[in-house]
Amino acid sequence: MAERVFASKVQKVGFVDIQRGEELPFGVDECEQYPLFTPELIALMRRLIPPERQATVARSVIFTARKP
């Protein structure tokens, strides 16, 4: 999910004070530790994603929001 999509969905249901906190780079090596990323998919990612992008395929972000 893109960050703007996340924020938009959260805002639409009524949350306020939506903030982004700690974030970490999420690369192919990190993906490999999760069950939806099969060995075949990881191999595909290593083949198709340019090496310079493989360490930052995505970001892990903490979002906070408050119900008014």
Binding site: M1, A2, V10
Partner: protein, 200 residues
């Protein structure tokens, strides 16, 4: 462990694709056998890890540390969506004691059993386990102070519905703390059509 009828609105008719995604997620997570401390070691503080049994650490599959970000206070009621092996539920139970409680919700009964065992090994008693889905949280309106989620919202094929349910169960002034994966740039189409991407 309690299994509840949904206390909120009736779920609308589901689409085949949504059920397919849910089943993919169920099967993938059902097969998880914790054998590494790699995920937890990257995300949690040594002081947090020291409070947990080895099994909870090895089965951690979150993507962040929402408990650290939540600023939990004694007496608060916390709901951990998609609690998995129970690492965040257990840490939250420590943080809200005395007087508070931590509720772990998961759609897989086998994960709830594992999570309950981990919490017992960690010596926390102020925990409760519930079988259910984040799109139909089996709790009444305005019944919790904090909702935590760690790498779980992205697995839902109905994310807006999940957020609406979180909103419903929070008390006014309550807060949501969600750790999840965001993608800034397009990935190759072969990757975007994978099960992992469908769930994201």
């Amino acid at each position: 462990m309690r299994e509840h009828a949904h206390a909120g609105a009736q779920p609308s008719e589901d689409l085949l694709g949504q059920e397919t995604i849910k089943e993919l997620v169920r099967e993938a997570y059902r097969a998880v056998v914790g054998t590494t401390t790699g995920v937890a070691g990257r995300l949690y503080d040594p002081e947090q890890l020291a409070r947990l049994p080895r099994g909870a650490v090895e089965q951690a599959l979150g993507v962040g540390n929402p408990v650290r970000a939540a600023g939990l206070q004694p007496g608060e009621v916390v709901l951990d969506l998609g609690c998995g092996g129970g690492i965040d539920t257990t840490l939250a139970a420590h943080a809200v004691a005395p007087g508070g409680r931590s509720i772990g919700l998961d759609m897989l009964p086998e994960m709830l059993e594992v999570a309950a065992r981990h919490a017992a090994e960690a010596g926390v008693a102020n925990v409760e386990w519930m079988l259910g889905e984040m799109e139909a949280i089996p709790l009444p309106e305005a019944s919790v102070d904090v909702v935590l989620s760690n790498g779980v919202i992205n697995l839902s094929p109905r994310k807006s519905r999940a957020f609406a349910e979180i909103y419903r169960v929070l008390r006014p002034g309550g807060r949501m703390v969600v750790a999840d994966i965001v993608v800034d740039e397009d990935l190759p189409p072969e990757i975007l059509t994978s099960a992992a991407a469908w769930a994201g």
